[in-house]
């Protein structure tokens, strides 16, 4: 008895020990199922399904179909489901399976679309505790066979959810064994089961088989499919994991050519000089930031070949010497130049640091500045051009502030310099360039960096609004060069202003005293100016607008605009001073941004339209604050009526329109 009790106790202990790995994982559970019900001849099926909360959830939708199917899809709550596979006997019976991992926790519609409108029925099943990938699937047709019909797939995990669907051609009353749980609804227009979906939970890896029976046991054909989802957290290969001591890892250390010699000196007490394998660090550093490695440690980190790395840049104004010129980007290095006018000198300071070694392919460099027009990224530019080359979009800009071939100095970032990126500044560099784009040969050894300053300009051939990238090469070769940054400059779009008047002369029809005559001008403006434009008008004759010899047609009181377009001017209705020459900007025919209703009236009606006389000095009649990338029109109406005493004759006079881009 006691023994037996002890045995029992021992057994439980073992059981618990074995169970521990499984308790850490979420066992597979099946949640809600749903059915679309029978559908015939519809191109879609929609039914509600509730996917309750649970970790590692999945929604599986199985559909039987009849017809060619077309490009069938399924969604849940608007989320697209993934088709795992489908099989069909010609244009007749078929099955299709969809899954959606981690669907929304909600009650929502499952929508299955079958473009050809074939018959069929679908079912949904929610499950939890499964991995978010299909472990195995087998969806196929069945040739002529005798029941039971089976489908199999191989599970890689000992804990799996097995789901299958079957549709027959002729046999009703399809059923499944008790090891499988039916879900969904049998289909067939006679109400019997021609198709059925079922699932089971498996606790062993390997082949999983689902069976579909029929009492008639006659030969039949159809389609059948199975998918297997393993339990979440289960590895493909079940434990125990390999922990053998029979195997080991080897790591072969390769010999590295080059490397610095095994001597060392340093004048710094700040930096650690690392040596290994009898090789000690060499050189001296005045930097508080950068260390020096040597021996194979150095080669492990940096390699023996030089890596001339373009690391910083700074756009500067050409307003001073190499040391006094100011930043063009408010003291910020590595800041792109968003607007640059053509034919305007600008200075570009660049830092090239040798982030590699000097033992392989090391030579003095002729540092040439090149440019390329950016399309996507600077790195993607395939064609680079020497800034100093003949023609092209860029050229050197001879600066009165620089001396060609002079040495740059290590100036501060705030004044247009760049941050130091290595231990040693190459002081004798000849890096100042304003007439040629390429330095003389200059060494940039390991742990060193050089600063270059080029005075350049964009030529008129440069692409308006185009962004150019710059890089430094060794006389055109980018071998052993790396580019962490590319200076960029965008060419300003030249301000354009187009002004067209529809006619240089406008004639009133015969003017009978006391009878109104009218004509007009249409002002058409196009400008890229972001703040729009103003249009002014003035008469050229100080005495009056229109004259015939010594005779003048009376002008209405000269136009005085309001201080703003929202402030009325002095224009009045046409019935005021009616026997005069007067004008207004007519609302009809004038684009809205050009029209100021406070100036010219809220409507074109006699009561609302406001008129004024032509002023003897230019006065604004249109003030638009927005750009007019496309042509914009303003319609100026001229009204003329004269008293009966107005001398007969032909009168004429010039009015001058001036369009100016707003500041």
């Amino acid at each position: 008895m006691k023994s037996k009790i002890l045995l029992t106790s021992s057994f439980l202990a073992v059981f618990c020990a074995l169970a521990l790995p499984f308790s850490a994982k979420a066992a597979i559970t099946v949640g809600n199922v749903s059915s679309s019900g029978d559908h015939f001849g519809a191109s879609s099926r929609t039914w509600a399904h509730t996917h309750a909360a649970g970790s590692d959830g999945v929604l599986i939708v199985t559909c039987s179909t009849f017809g060619t199917g077309g490009a069938m899809t399924a969604t849940f709550n608007g989320e697209s489901m993934t088709e795992i596979g489908q099989a069909r006997i010609g244009s007749q019976e078929g099955v299709i399976v969809f899954v959606l991992f981690n669907p929304s926790v909600t009650t929502a519609n499952i929508v299955f679309t079958i473009p050809d409108g074939g018959d069929g029925v679908c079912a949904g099943l929610s499950a939890y505790g499964v991995s978010n990938s299909v472990d195995a699937s087998n969806i196929t047709t069945i040739g002529s066979a005798v029941y039971p019909m089976t489908v199999s797939a191989s599970a890689s995990s000992p804990s799996s959810l097995v789901v299958s669907i079957f549709q027959s051609v002729v046999s009703p009353n399809v059923s499944v064994p008790g090891s499988q749980t039916e879900f969904g609804l049998g289909c067939g227009n006679d109400g019997n089961n021609y198709c059925l979906s079922s699932y089971s939970l498996s606790s062993s890896a390997g082949t999983q088989t689902h069976t579909y029976n029929n009492g008639a046991a006659s030969a039949d054909t159809g389609a059948i499919g199975m998918i297997i989802l393993k339990e979440s957290g289960q590895s493909t290969l079940p434990p125990p994991y390999a922990s053998s001591t029979s195997f080991f890892i080897t790591h072969r250390m390769l010999n590295i050519a080059g490397g610095n010699p095994a001597n060392s000196f340093s004048s710094s007490t700040t930096f650690r000089l690392l040596g290994a394998g009898g090789q000690t660090a060499i050189g001296s550093s005045t930097s508080s930031t950068f260390g020096i490695e040597s021996g194979f440690l150095r080669n492990l980190y940096k390699g023996p070949a030089p890596i001339y790395t373009q690391m910083h840049y700074h756009w500067r104004n050409d307003d001073g010497s190499e040391t006094t010129a100011t930043s063009k980007t408010s003291g910020s290095q590595d800041a792109v130049l968003s607007t640059l006018d053509e034919s305007t000198g600008v200075r570009l300071r660049l830092l090239i640091s040798n982030e590699g070694g000097t033992r392989l392919a090391y030579a003095q460099q002729q540092l040439r500045l090149e440019y390329g027009l950016k399309s996507t990224t600077c790195a993607a530019i395939s064609s680079w051009t020497d800034v100093g080359g003949v023609g092209g979009d860029w050229d050197m800009f001879s600066s009165a502030n620089l001396t060609e071939g002079g040495n740059t100095t290590n100036i501060a970032v705030a004044t247009g310099g760049v941050a130091n990126e290595n231990a040693t500044f190459v002081a004798s560099n000849g890096g100042i360039r304003d007439t040629t784009s390429q330095t003389s040969s200059v060494p940039v050894s390991s742990d060193s960096y050089i600063e270059l300053e080029y005075s350049i300009q964009a030529l008129t051939a440069a692409t308006d609004n185009g962004t150019y990238c710059f890089r430094v090469t060794n006389a055109g070769s980018a071998t052993n060069y790396a580019y962490r940054v590319y200076p960029e400059a965008t060419i300003s779009s030249p301000l354009s202003l187009t002004f067209v008047v529809d006619g240089a002369s406008q004639a009133f029809s015969a003017v009978t005293p006391g009878t109104l005559a009218a004509t007009s001008s249409i002002l058409t403006v196009k400008t890229t100016n972001p703040t729009g434009f103003i249009a002014t008008v003035e008469r050229s004759d100080a005495t009056g607008t229109m004259s015939s010899g010594a005779f003048y047609i009376p002008d209405k009181t000269a136009w005085v605009p309001g201080v703003a377009t929202t402030t009325p001017g002095n224009a009045t209705a046409s019935t005021t001073q009616p026997l005069t020459l007067q004008f207004r900007v007519r609302q009809t025919g004038t684009d809205v941004p050009n029209y100021a209703s406070s100036w010219w009236g809220t409507a074109d009606t006699t009561a609302s339209a406001l008129f004024a006389g032509f002023p003897s000095t230019a006065s604004t009649i249109v003030n638009r604050s927005t750009p007019a990338a496309a042509t914009t029109t303003s319609y100026v109406l001229y009204n003329l009526n004269v008293p009966v005493t107005q001398q007969t004759g032909t009168y004429s006079g010039d009015i001058i329109y001036t369009v100016t881009a707003n500041p």
Partner: protein
Amino acid sequence: MSLYTFFSRKSLARDIVTSFVVTATLFSSIIYAVQVNAAAVTLTATVSTSLTFTTSSSQFGTVTPGTIAWATTTLDVLTNDTAGWFVTLSGDNKTSVNNNLQTVGNAASFTDQTEWVPGAATTTTGNAVVRASLVNSGNVLAFRVMTASSSNGTVFTAPSWWGTTDADGTARFAGISSSTVQRQIGYAGTGSYSASNHINTVQYYLLASASQPTGSYSAPLTYTATGN
């Protein structure tokens, strides 16, 4: 015997319709990198002639044979025509056989002075004569343009036509012409423009003989003012 004269008047304003072809020349320019652009537009208009013409008349009233009766018509012209204007006169009743001033049904009439034929120019004498030279012993209906009351002066009254003054012996008279041959009685040319009304007076002379039948006489007349 009561004699009455009735006058009608007609004013004619001539409209000069002048059309212009709108210049379709496209004026345009494009300026890059410059922010100002200007364009001139020439406005043209032709002001047509405006002319208003009114008359007001006094009547002869009762005419006593042997006693000259006088009547007047004031011509009032307002025009903007810088080329000037002119006035014609014709008698609606006047024909080669009928006189101007006649009773109803033309049972009786006054003899007309010889119909007015102006000189080729206002400086050329017409066929007007002084009162003493009137036909039919002066028993006629005649007219002339007075000089003294003219706001235009000799520009319109033409001394060569109507005499240098209104004084008897100097003033010249003529007969009212037929309606088929409207005769110019005054002409104001270029330089006569005034923003004010032009006032001129036509004077009518009527002398009835003792044998002139009593009755009410009338003579409808037509004045026409025309801008040049």
